[in-house]
């Protein structure tokens, strides 16, 4: 899969940050981006839109980024299909990083961030894990029992 073909879901309750992440993703050729302002709607959107990657704000009203990640891991992921999640946060304390890791996030990026840092986090996350589409294709290729 080409970097520019990624489908990315941005979950952040701050409209200015959603717009900025969208601009940065478009600046590096990623045009298939949907943004949502809360975790509950984002969980529904994952089922409907099948993104390849999630960028999720840590601190949000309602479901925060860590709880949201737990819900994706328990309610949406399957043993063969782990949706890549990068947590975006304005706070760099170690305990937050550990919470995000324990919840099952793939990576963590601290605001303010550079475009290169974001692109490299995405590159690293995607090269280490299968996307939903990849898993789907593998399932299709498996012989029926």
């Amino acid at each position: 899969m080409k970097f520019e073909d990624l489908r990315i879901l941005v979950v952040d309750d701050n409209a200015n940050m959603r717009r900025l992440i969208n601009t940065i993703l478009r600046s590096v050729g990623v045009l298939d981006v949907v943004d949502i302002d809360n975790g509950a709607d984002a969980l529904a959107m994952i089922q409907e839109w099948k993104p390849d990657l999630l960028l999720v704000d840590y601190v949000m009203d309602g479901l925060d980024g860590v709880e949201f990640t737990r819900r994706v891991r328990s309610d949406i992921d399957t043993p063969d299909n782990r949706l890549p999640i990068i947590i975006v946060t304005g706070y760099s304390e170690l305990w937050r990083l550990n919470e995000a890791k324990k919840a099952g996030a793939n990576d963590f990026i601290v605001k303010p961030f550079t475009t290169k840092a974001l692109v490299n986090r995405i590159q690293r996350t995607m090269s280490q894990g299968l996307t939903l589409e990849d898993v789907g294709r593998q399932d299709e290729a498996k012989p029926a029992h």
Partner: protein
């Protein structure tokens, strides 16, 4: 001749693309639109700490994107034989350093940077460069397929660490 106050108020308006900014190379115009979109996001009235994450990320993105864009533009100038390429490169060095200086100042102490002043500076910084300097290469590059080819030749791997590659 416009007064200094009139010029200042022109840059106080919302930054937006317009056809007179076109250099005739679609890929370069697209780069300029990205820079405009980034700068436009400084012109909000949010308070700290939200402003810190927004303005800091915009400045960091501007720094990365100007490096990418200037590299593409300079490659294009070489390919089409633009005679003022060296002087243009020197101008790029100064312009990028100005963004890096603002970024360093802002990260050291965001309250040391007046956001409205920063917005006015960047609006002027971009528009004056396009209108006064980029337009000099337009006759060499506009509607020239070699110009577009040279720009496209520098792609997104520019943003990737040299020890890894796009998946």
């Amino acid at each position: 001749m416009p007064t200094a106050a009139a010029e200042e108020s022109a840059y106080d308006s919302p930054i937006a693309w317009s056809p007179e900014l076109s250099v005739g190379v679609p890929e370069i115009d697209a780069d300029h639109k990205v820079l405009i979109e980034l700068i436009s996001q400084i012109n909000n009235r949010s308070d700290l700490p939200e402003a810190f994450t927004i303005v800091g990320t915009v400045l960091a993105a501007l720094s990365d994107y100007t490096e990418y864009h200037f590299t593409r533009e300079e490659r294009m100038q070489q390919v089409v034989g633009f005679p003022n390429a060296d002087a243009h490169h020197q101008r790029h060095v100064i312009l990028r350093q100005q963004v890096l200086d603002y970024l360093a100042r802002y990260m050291a102490n965001p309250e040391d940077v007046d956001t409205q002043e920063l917005y006015l500076f960047l609006h002027r910084w971009l528009f004056e460069h396009i209108l006064n300097e980029d337009m000099q290469y337009a006759p060499y590059c506009a509607n020239n397929p070699k110009a577009s080819e040279a720009v496209i030749g520098i792609g997104l791997d520019f943003f990737i660490d040299s020890n890894s590659s796009l998946f």
